[in-house]
């Protein structure tokens, strides 16, 4: 069975995606919009299921690496070379799980687009998007990789601007594709440097030739790759596209982008820093760690400032990428010090958080999507009380919120715990420079966890709890059955990945120790038991929690009388409660914003209207405007942009419009060349 999946699963998957894309376009062309949507999503689901079966089989039963042969395309002789190692299999699994859930979720949401947008196009790019993500992971040469990478970027760009009649979306897509192409340019550069010394685009050749590269060029290649990949992963300060693009896309696409697309960058970082360059200097690990620390803490702080639910989630992606980078950076550092066991364990932390974040972020985006769908707005200040109208969705969001806050017994806790362990281990055993950076990483992780919890209390509270604050949320409706299925799947997995951590961690450990270039680990220890005398058992925690809850119930049952319960109004101090008296999302996070004003630079404007003009004793209205400037845009991007614009203006001046000048150019060119030649 497993062999069957390994043999045919991948091709079936690509076949399904190709068929889905084609059929979608064809049906769309014949005005069968609805059908094209459903068919494309169904085939995307089918393809993802096939990919999942393939990857899980490969993960569990694939003894050796799987190779696929090559054939020429265009001017390229060896374009299609694929290689599936267990790292790739793992990422395919992550991609396909989220793709299944997102596709099932999305298959019902087309009514709002009917007549306005071309659904056939959506299905095409949707399938292309998923297929190219899978391809990114298994490509075994730089050409194919870049091809798939670009395909991923372009397809997702079209998905972002799918609602192209909305001005904001077009702008968001623009920013996204710009940053994305910038990143590609850097990756280009990285591969070109590698090519220069290996003479090949093939990853297998690159892998063995990196050792003989001059140190300077190794570091140049790594730096270029890091910038290129960081821009895709959304590492601060290259994250600015993320909070723009993710909200603009339809929700199940946001789930895919945030849940898995940005992870492909993590995948490639592992390839570069651990697989290609096993001898990378430890400072690369520390750099990644530092980036992770900055991204996680700033990401969560920016998330706190948001009241657009999807932007909030997008900033949490920045934060979680930061956490993943903490693990990855630690892993690279350990590996470069020859601490293979610790390195593998830290990589497990990173991988575990990768899959966890994919699960709960996709879950959150999907449930946020059904909220947005039900209310028609992304503004949390207009929500409120949705838990009564959308009980299922709210439960799903709650699962996601608890998981992403890293609270037991869900999966988020496991990976945060693993990351902490790696960082503490590094603090304990590494040289002093590394110790300090690890300490910073640990500190940021400690604060990030708490702030994330605060942020999701705000998000969940403002969205689902208490009374409705705007008329939009008063008429919300529960998500459709398909949507529920998609969300439920992910929520279940969030729980399972928490409970089953004892099973999953050893599998990931195999990945962590799979890189042949590192000293082989003969016996793979359980990472949950691995470092020092630490101990951790999720089942035990769950038993404890369940016992605690049962005991509580028992206590109440035994001791409490049978008092009557009266349903009444919230205590209102004698005035009539209005929705305006509830705390707002902005108000909730105001204190944290003010505490971190040094980092966030909020602008606060207070305007007060008085009842009596003379004495100013009684205020009539008081308004506080809390503004948050986009620091990265203002301080980094705008100046760079202005610089290019200045250059462009200067270049434009070449075209003076005067014929004599043009002839002068030719004259001068001629003279200059003559002088240069015969100097």
């Amino acid at each position: 069975m497993a062999l069957f999946f390994i043999q045919y699963g991948l091709w079936t998957a690509f076949g399904c995606f190709a068929l889905g894309a084609t059929l979608s376009v064809i049906l769309g062309a014949y005005k069968a919009e609805k059908e094209s949507w459903i068919v494309s999503h169904a085939l995307a689901t089918a393809g993802a299921v096939a990919a999942l079966s393939f990857s899980v089989s490969a993960l569990f039963f694939g003894e050796k690496l799987s190779y696929y042969s090559s054939f020429p395309i265009g001017i390229m002789q060896n374009l299609i070379t694929l290689r599936v190692d267990i790292l790739a299999a793992f990422f395919i699994a992550v991609i396909s799980v989220v793709a299944i859930a997102a596709s099932i979720f999305g298959s019902g949401y087309f009514k709002q687009y009917l007549g306005t947008y071309r659904l056939g196009h959506f299905g095409f790019f949707y399938n292309l998007f998923i297929a190219s993500m899978v391809l990114v992971v298994i490509a075994n040469n730089a050409f194919l990789f870049l091809l798939a990478w670009e395909g991923m970027a372009i397809a997702s760009y079209f998905l972002v601007i799918f609602e192209r009649k909305v001005e904001e979306n077009v702008g968001a897509g623009m920013l996204y594709i710009l940053i994305s192409q910038l990143g590609v340019a850097f990756l280009f550069g990285a591969f070109l440097v590698l090519y220069r010394f290996s003479g090949s685009w093939d990853f297998d050749v690159i892998r063995v030739s990196t050792g003989s590269m001059p140190l300077l060029f190794q570091n140049i290649a790594l730096a270029l790759a890091l910038i290129g990949l960081a821009s895709k992963a959304g590492v601060i300060p290259l994250h600015i596209w993320l909070p723009e693009a993710h909200p603009a896309a339809p929700s199940h696409v946001s789930a895919l982008m945030s849940g898995v697309m940005i992870k492909t960058a993590i995948f490639m970082m592992i390839r570069f820093f651990i697989d290609f360059f096993p001898t990378a200097h430890f400072s690369w690990g520390l750099i990644l760690l530092g980036l992770g620390a900055v991204s996680s803490i700033l990401g969560v702080l920016h998330a706190l400032t948001e009241h657009d639910i999807k932007r909030l989630l997008a900033f949490h992606s920045v934060e979680n990428i930061g956490i993943i980078l903490l693990g990855l950076g630690a892993s690279i550092t350990f590996f470069s010090f020859g601490l293979t066991l610790f390195g593998a364990a830290a990589l497990v932390a990173a991988l575990y958080h990768t899959v966890n974040h994919a699960l709960f972020k996709a879950l959150l985006f999907l449930s946020a999507g059904s909220v947005v769908h039900a209310t028609g707005t992304r503004n949390m200040e207009e929500y409120g009380g949705l838990i009564k109208l959308m009980p299922y969705t709210s439960a799903m969001f709650l699962v996601g919120a608890v998981a992403i806050s890293g609270l037991p017994p869900f999966n988020g806790f496991v990976s945060e715990w693993l990351t902490f362990q790696s960082l503490f281990a590094g603090i304990a055993i590494l040289p002093i420079v590394a110790k300090i950076v690890f300490l910073v990483g640990g500190a940021s992780l400690a604060f990030t966890g708490g702030l994330a919890a605060a942020c999701f209390v705000k998000a969940f509270g403002a969205t689902f709890l208490a009374r409705s604050r705007g008329h939009v949320s008063a008429h919300a409706h529960e998500a459709s059955a398909l949507a529920m299925t998609g969300m439920g799947m992910l929520a279940l997995l969030c729980v399972l990945f928490g409970i089953g951590s004892g099973t999953i961690a050893p599998i990931l450990m195999r990945i962590g120790s799979s890189f042949s270039s590192h000293a082989a680990l003969t016996a793979l220890p359980d990472p949950l038991q691995g470092l020092g005398s630490t101990a951790f058992s999720m089942p035990a925690i769950i038993i404890a929690l369940i016992t605690g809850l049962l005991a509580t119930g028992a206590i109440v049952w035994m001791w409490a009388g049978r008092p009557t319960i009266r349903i009444s109004r919230t205590w209102d101090c004698g005035v009539t409660l209005t929705p305006r008296m509830e705390i707002t999302a902005t108000g909730f996070s105001r204190s944290i914003i003010l505490i971190f004003r040094g980092l966030l630079k909020p602008t606060s404007q207070t305007s007060i209207e008085y009842d009596d003009a003379q004495s100013h004793y009684f205020t009539k209205t008081k308004t506080v405007n809390l503004g948050l400037p986009d620091l990265y845009r203002d301080r980094i991007y705008v100046p760079i942009f202005a610089l290019i614009e200045r250059g462009a203006a200067r270049a434009r001046r070449i075209q003076t419009g005067n014929l004599n000048t043009y002839l002068l150019y030719i004259f001068i060119t001629l003279i200059v060349l003559l002088v240069w030649t015969f100097r």
């Binding site: 434009r652 075209q655 419009g657 004599n660 002839l663 004259f667």
Partner: protein
Amino acid sequence: MSTIPLVVLCAASVFALTLLMNIVRKNTTLVHLYLLQSLALAVALTSMSFVEGSSGLLYAAALTLAVKVVLAPAFFLRLIRKYEAHFSAASYINTPLSLLALTAITVFSYAFLYPQISGYVRSPSIPLLFAAIFGTLFLMVNRRGALAAIIGILSLENAVVLLAASLGIEHAFALELAVAFDIAVWVAIAAGFLGMMQRQFGAIDSAPLAMTHLTEE
């Protein structure tokens, strides 16, 4: 053969006429100078053909005489009368400075360019003709008028042909025919453009002053 005294004299006169073109203000004079320059070219080609005994050069001389000395100048003079464009549009830098620039060009040709290729071919006409080429280029750069541009290109062509001839390139009749035809067509097209300018702007020579709108922004 480029050392034939008559050829050198012709080369010198081509150069001198180029200098003069840079100085004169009237369009009719410009055309007349071009006529003289073409004549010098024809004379040079003829003399070369006699020395060489090559009939190709003789045909070339005859074609030059027909197209460049007779047809083109007559045509342009008629246009000038028709469009009443006797005076040329202004130049960018004044005459003394122009002469200074021309001096620099001449020095460049003699002192820099000629020593490079003198190992290959030694002839006093080479630097003169290079200077003439740069001089016509300078003419086109410096003068704003449409006619000046046209005459500049034609006289550049003269200088190039004479340079090639004095370097010793053999001329075939077919080639000369093609080139002469090219020039004839070119003149016709240029005249067509002059006509369009007259229609669009009401004046041919100052028209380029109005044609500076195609810029970025």
